[in-house]
């Protein structure tokens, strides 16, 4: 029985498997459901200043078992309504991390001030959605912007701030360093990879929005590369995201340097029970390999640790 509970900077999680933002994250009941299924924490859908319907359908395109393209367009009920959903999840005992998105440092700070008092244990800043005009990658691709936004939020709220980094960049570690400089408690990576699908029969993009973001197994190599590079350049913890659907995938992330991981697309393949299964399988795998705890495997693939 390996020790599954982890610390991610100031956060204590019962296990390293966190529900990723945008999956089961609009309603409090769903967040609670993911928690009940065994998630170590749950991240809310990214919440903005006002209610947003998101893009029209089609919003997703599937590639069988290796990938999923989506352009939801950051639908969310808006910061005014959303606290009641967090309240539902909290009543059920869930450890909730609030995700927010904004167009600039000020909007992020305002959202943070409204989200913090709801009892979320930390805020994750969406600096990385690849398909939302004026948000996400558009405000999170330059270290200076990341530093400004993270700094503004850190100054605005007393709870830990996690910067969620884009993979659509030559230097993810540079963005992570900016977040660290600005006082982030942790960095999470990655969000989806910018992608497009075209229907040749109808000669048009499949998604109503055109561009979308790829998630699922296909992006695991990219996510691992980002975590690997970031781990070498910052001292705050990294949360690994991207294509995790087995305990083995998660262990790759841990060994690459992640202190915890987020799981998204796998929920559509394996159902929400994936959280309980991942924890169980990781436990057995750590035992087999002789690691006494999740923490002891973190960064194990880096030369200094080998």
């Amino acid at each position: 029985m390996a020790e599954l509970s982890v610390r991610v900077g100031p956060l204590a999680l019962r296990n390293p498997f966190v529900l990723a933002s945008g999956i089961w994250g609009e309603s409090g009941e769903s967040l609670a459901g993911a928690w009940d299924a065994g998630a170590g924490a749950v991240v809310t859908k990214s919440i903005g200043s006002a209610a947003r319907p998101g893009y029209p359908n089609p919003t997703i395109e599937s590639y069988g078992d290796w990938g999923l393209l989506n352009a939801m367009g950051l639908p969310n009920p808006g910061i005014e309504e959303y606290p009641r959903e967090i309240a539902v999840a909290r009543t059920r005992g869930a450890t909730v991390i609030g995700s927010i998105f904004g167009g600039d440092a000020e909007e992020f700070a305002t959202l943070a001030r409204e989200m913090a008092p709801t009892g979320v244990v930390a805020l994750e800043l969406n600096l990385s959605c690849p398909h939302a005009e004026g948000y996400g990658t558009e405000v999170g691709s330059e270290p200076a912007d990341v530093e400004a936004i993270v700094g503004a939020v850190v100054r605005a709220v007393p709870i830990p701030v996690i910067a969620k980094i884009t993979p659509n960049t030559p230097d993810p570690a540079g963005l992570a360093e900016a977040a660290e400089r600005a006082g982030a408690a942790a960095v999470s990576a990655i969000n989806t990879i910018r992608g497009l699908a075209i229907d040749t029969e109808l000669h048009r993009p499949v998604l109503a929005h055109g561009l979308g973001g790829l998630s699922g197994p296909a992006i695991k190599p990219a996510g691992l590369a980002c975590v690997w590079q970031i781990y070498d350049r910052i001292r705050i913890p990294v949360i690994g995201i991207g294509g995790i659907s087995t305990a083995e995938d998660a262990l790759e992330y841990l060994m690459a340097g992640a202190s915890a991981v987020e799981v998204g697309t796998a929920v559509t393949q394996r159902g929400i029970r994936v959280f309980g299964e991942l924890a169980h399988d990781l436990d057995r795998r750590l035992d087999a390999l002789g690691y006494p705890s999740v923490a002891s495997a973190v960064g194990a693939a880096h030369p200094a640790r080998r």
Partner: protein, 282 residues
């Protein structure tokens, strides 16, 4: 890894059939005007489907919408679309040869084991009830149908229900056929007249709630085919959340006993932004 992105239904609810998650473009092979406001589109789509399941159907240039399969049992599948908002109104004008995108089928199915079934359909609800009733009748079950509409010409699939040997009782808001008023009244009466092993219902949620409450004293299990705003249909995006469930993978068919305890059942749904919106307020 071998499980495609198919949506994974929750244990303890019905089994969902394995689904084809990848989109296929199909051509409309047949178009039938069912009522003045409702059209059926048929197309060749080989994946197996069960009565109760739905597809995500993409009307290129317009929206992609969830639609129950109104024909499930051959490769020639069909959907029956009622004119509501912009997209479903545009659909009324699609002709043979039009191309649409299909993914699915998604969701669970009606359980066909019951021997005496009361079917209660309102509006376009008959679209999903008809293939289920047909399958049950073919297995030798007794099927009784309470069918409601605003007015006589809008009674969907009346002839189809009759030709499967079902007893059909109708209700119209304006009394132009059958009982004047809501189909729930007819359902109440039928529940008192005959013993049933199951009630299947699809229609406005307020109607389904009434049917469910009416059947409670008699102890007849009620199965409701529910609707929520849908985006991914893969149990991921949370758009279709209904209490702890996701209609796209845990439903659309739920036993009423699961729905009645939910504060939102019959009362509110969520708009595309995820805001809770009371029914009737849109």
């Amino acid at each position: 890894m071998s499980v495609p992105f198919a949506g994974a239904a929750r244990e303890g609810l019905y089994l969902a059939a394995p689904t084809a998650a990848v989109r296929t473009i199909v051509e409309v092979t047949e178009r039938v005007l069912e009522t003045p406001s409702t059209v059926t589109l048929r197309f060749r789509y080989p994946p197996t489907a069960e009565p109760g399941q739905f597809v995500m159907i993409w009307f290129p240039g317009d929206d992609e919408l969830p639609m129950s399969l109104s024909y499930t049992d051959t490769e020639s599948k069909g959907v029956t679309v009622k004119a509501m908002g912009e997209t479903s109104r545009n659909v009324q004008h699609l002709g043979v040869g039009a191309r649409v995108g299909i993914r699915g089928p998604y969701g669970n199915r009606f359980d066909l084991a019951a021997r005496r079934i009361l079917v209660v359909g309102g509006g376009s609800g008959a679209a999903v009830l008809a293939p289920a009733a047909e399958a049950a009748a073919r297995r030798g079950s007794r099927v009784v149908v309470a069918l409601g509409a605003t007015q006589a010409p809008e009674l969907l699939f009346r002839a189809r229900f009759e030709s499967m040997g079902a007893r059909v009782e109708v209700a119209t808001d304006d009394g132009s056929d059958g009982t004047r008023g809501f189909v729930t009244g007819v359902a109440d009466r039928l529940l008192r007249e005959e013993p049933f092993d199951a009630v299947w219902t699809c229609g406005p949620e307020v109607m389904m709630e009434k049917v469910a409450r009416a059947a409670e004293p008699a102890g007849v299990p009620v199965f409701c085919s529910t609707e929520r705003h849908m985006k991914c249909a893969l149990g991921m995006c949370d758009a279709c959340a209904l209490g702890p469930y996701h209609v796209c993978v845990d439903g659309p068919v739920f036993p009423a006993e699961r729905l009645l305890p939910l504060p939102e059942f019959g009362r509110s749904h969520r708009d595309p932004s995820g805001r809770r919106v009371p029914f009737g307020s849109r």
